[in-house]
């Protein structure tokens, strides 16, 4: 079957941002040494928290499962090195911006002994797709682009839809972040192998690997690996360097010219999107039996002394990672996990590096300037919005707390990319306002739901009381009727019976 051909779609709006990637891609990926202590949050994925299956004082080996998924959506957590569990307690985590969440803390013994693989590991091509999916589930693999959706469940959901093509996301459009770029340069073969595994699991015959045009070395490296592999189902596609073309829905629109429906998924339009890092992780697990215990992370920003890309064990604290790279610069004001447009700001560097940590960015206070003024209705925000929303109108309606209009103008479709903030001459924090407004809409929707339930219960109660009243009246009427038919003698008999107990008292 030939690969489906699409006209390259066009993304509305977006921005050409300064990349700031060259400085962190001059050297190969460096390995951060195993720290003395690993902090592993039990929730490193979207879904229900995993439950620890080890206890205090247990000795664990590298690659051993230490937390199992609990519930329908989740992924296991593996120990990133050998050592002893010294605590299972709340610790600052990046998922909560530095607030605490339950973590398993392991004191490493330095030996880095791996768990024994005693089960025979067959070639994945001989497995049934459903079995392959179960195997992927056990590897703790989640979306490494930052969304950390459990990969196995994503594939299982996709199997219920008609998927035509797999799209590997090597776009990495956000400035500073270059971990995927380095991965594509150094591990192109493993990425392609991962793609083949995923295609077998999903029974697909077409795969596009999308890379931005500002990554010539990665394109070269992937091109060579593709030529060597000789699998015609995999096609390399270059996309223009526009932020935010790396967003899942935006990439689908760019590669296939189809719009993902509002509230829907790429699977609704026949596409399955996976990050290149996820593909490499799938390869490592399915072929080499190495679960997800490390990842590549970019360390960059004006607040970092030596920007670079590193591979670190999951559970290494950010403080340890930054120390390895050479520490902070003279001034370091904000620690961000992620990129300068969509990253999360942390309160402390004690948070551990987890599956979602694609970038550690330290910025200075001076990157923010300008007073907030009133909106001058210039419309520049609308011209850069990739979803073709009207951020200006959304802002006015947010100020007016008009929930109906906010829904009508598509606030819930906002992907919080931050493009509108960057072009606003009045320096209005639009994205932050929209995040708050989304919470407000949810709050109002919840209130409405509660009111609806109360109304239904009220009306049901009224119906019940009415029914009881009618039943009583019907019964009374029936009694009167039967008494009348029985005649006066029967009535006298009943009356006598009723009076008897009183006489007996």
């Amino acid at each position: 079957m030939t690969a489906p051909t699409y006209d390259l779609g066009k993304l509305h709006g977006g921005l050409r941002l300064p990349g700031h990637k060259a400085i962190s891609t001059t050297a190969p990926i460096r390995d951060v040494p195993i720290p003395s202590q690993l902090v592993l949050p039990i929730t490193q994925h979207v879904g229900d928290p995993a439950q620890p299956v080890v206890g205090m004082g247990d000795r664990v080996l590298k690659g051993q499962v230490i937390a199992e998924p609990d519930g329908t959506l989740g992924a296991p957590v593996h120990a990133s090195s050998s050592g002893k569990v010294i605590a299972i307690e709340p610790w600052p985590v990046s998922r909560r911006y530095g607030d605490k969440a339950p973590c398993i803390i392991i004191e490493c013994d330095g030996e880095d002994r791996a768990i024994e693989n005693d089960s025979r590991w067959e070639d994945f091509l001989s497995l049934q797709p459903a079995d392959l999916l179960l195997r992927i589930l056990d590897g703790g693999i989640v979306g490494l682009g930052g969304a950390v959706f459990p990969t196995a469940q994503k594939l299982m959901q996709a199997r219920t839809c008609k998927i035509e093509t797999l799209i590997l996301n090597g776009v990495e459009c956000e400035p500073y972040i270059s971990c995927d770029d380095m991965l594509m340069r150094e591990r192109a073969a493993e990425i392609l192998s991962g793609a083949q595994i995923l295609m077998h699991a999903m029974q697909l015959n077409s795969c596009y690997i999308a890379v931005e045009s500002d990554k010539p070395e990665a394109l070269h490296s992937l091109g060579d690996a593709l030529a060597e592999l000789g699998d015609e189902r995999l096609v390399l596609k270059q996309v223009p360097t526009i932020y935010p073309s790396g967003g899942e829905d935006q990439l689908v629109q760019l590669v296939t010219n189809r719009e993902v429906p509002s509230g829907g998924l790429p699977t609704d339009v026949g596409c399955l999107v996976q990050n290149v890092g996820t593909a490499a992780a799938v390869h490592d697990w399915v072929i080499k039996h190495e679960p997800l215990i490390s990842r590549v992370t970019t360390v960059a920003g004006d607040g970092i002394a030596n920007p670079m890309n590193v591979r670190a064990r999951i559970g290494t604290t950010i403080a340890d990672v930054v120390k390895f790279t050479g520490g902070y610069a003279e001034q370091a004001d904000h620690l961000i996990i992620g990129g300068p447009m969509t990253g999360k700001s942390m309160s402390t560097d004690r948070v551990p590096l987890v599956k979602a940590t694609n970038s550690i960015l330290v910025v200075l206070k001076t990157s923010f300037q300008g007073r907030e003024l009133a909106c001058i209705r210039c419309g520049d925000c609308a011209s850069v919005c990739p979803i073709q929303l009207l951020p200006q109108q959304l802002f006015w309606y947010t100020c007016a707390d008009n929930e109906v209009k906010l829904r009508e103008f598509g606030l819930i479709d906002c992907i919080e990319c931050g493009c509108c903030d960057l072009v606003c001459p009045s320096h209005i924090p639009l994205t932050a306002n929209f995040k708050i407004a989304k919470g407000r809409i949810q709050e109002l929707a919840d209130e409405k739901g509660r009111a609806e339930r109360a109304r239904r219960r009220f009306e049901a109660r009224n119906d019940r009381l009415e029914q009881e009243r009618q039943d009583r009246e019907a019964e009374l009427a029936q009694q009167k009727e039967s008494a009348k038919r029985a005649g006066p003698a029967a009535i006298a008999e009943i009356l006598k019976r009723k009076q008897k107990p009183r006489e007996d008292d």
């Binding site: 919840d446 609806e452 109360a454």
Partner: protein, 166 residues
């Protein structure tokens, strides 16, 4: 000049006739409006507005016999939405209330069913002479159960954030 006067007079006459025709043949359905007003109310059925339930209050608001600021559980937001819907002036809420739920002190409850019968949304369960309890997720905080209790075992507790998010 007279032509201009005549033209405008004819336009005004025509417009007036068209409007009166429209208002007669396409009247605003009063029942629809009562439904719309009822949808904006929080459905606590607490009677704090002076009407025995939300729908009677809605009807009174549409009829014009009730002001739009009589619903404390609805809050300022409801007053504003009613004002927008009906084209009336907003006004300050007659009284503010904290969202809360009823809690029965089980050590004092005698199982008399008075509170259960008083609850307009059947949020209290319990048979006669058996323990009664409030189903927290269904309680609207209307306080109608507090007065009928002969042993004064029902108290109102403010809603926690965790409760609000479910």
């Amino acid at each position: 000049m007279w032509i201009a006067v005549l033209t405008f007079a004819l336009i005004a006459l025509g417009a007036g006739l068209a409007l009166s025709f429209a208002s007669r043949r396409l009247p605003a359905n009063a029942d629809d409006l009562v439904e719309k007003v009822n949808d904006l109310l929080p459905q606590t059925q607490c009677a704090q507005c002076g009407y025995p339930g939300c729908r009677p209050y809605a009807k009174a608001v549409v009829d014009g016999t009730a002001a739009i600021n009589l619903c404390p559980p609805g809050g300022e937001a409801t007053v504003r939405r009613l004002a927008d819907l009906l084209g009336r002036e907003t006004m300050p809420l007659v009284e503010r209330v904290e969202p809360s739920v009823a809690v029965i002190d089980e050590s004092l409850c005698i199982g008399c069913v008075h509170c259960r019968n008083a609850c307009p949304v059947d949020a209290i369960v319990g048979a006669a002479h058996f323990m009664h309890t409030v189903i927290e997720s269904e309680c609207t905080g209307c306080e109608l159960c507090v007065a009928p209790c002969p042993v004064d075992c029902i108290s109102m507790r403010p809603l926690s954030n965790a409760r609000l998010s479910t």
